[in-house]
Symmetry: C2
Subunit: 108 residues, 2 copies
């Protein structure tokens, strides 16, 4: 008698699953997008605020925001002429501590 349910792993470790994870990391892995996430950790901001912060063309910033949005890191909210973005999953911020420690180690 086959026991099919025994073969379902608790945690997926398939290639597809690692691709999903890396997509999220890739969305964060750009200096401008990190600046944006850092800024959004202080509250929601409109695209024009973020454009000034990042110092690139507004179309470039809009595309960066779309990358973050597609990967579930931010959500947007149009109010009037402006579009406001905010963090969707705050735990993203925990990354920074670890990344700092990696960088500190690299300096040694």
């Amino acid at each position: 008698m086959p026991q099919l349910h025994r073969y379902i792993p608790e945690r997926s470790t398939t290639r597809a699953h690692f691709e999903e994870r890396s997509a999220v990391l890739k969305a964060l892995a750009h200096p401008s997008r990190l600046m944006i996430v850092d800024e959004l950790s202080h509250g929601e901001r409109c695209v024009c605020d973020l454009t000034e912060l990042v110092g690139h063309d507004i179309s470039t910033v809009s595309k960066h925001l779309n990358v973050l949005k597609k990967n579930g890191i931010v959500v947007d909210d149009k109010r009037g002429k402006q579009v406001y973005y905010r963090l969707k999953v705050p735990c993203i911020l925990n990354f920074f501590h670890c990344i700092e420690s990696v960088i500190d180690e690299n300096r040694k």
Copy 2:
């Protein structure tokens, strides 16, 4: 009397700093490299073990390992004919929980 020391920020938020951080994230943001990091969380492994795991050419895996090494995520150790890699900064593993929660949110 100028108070120069007052202008030194506690935490750097310059573009250069965000570039450093994104370099670390970028090193992690690839499915094969995530597979490697996940495997190394169980202990050190030689390149040939990781090559079998990843399922790509050994030269490709070697280059992935070099990316992780250059960014301070793993360290290597040659013993005999084999080169063993292990995680340098274990906190990297904390990322996974958060990434999972992002992915879970994305499914909703």
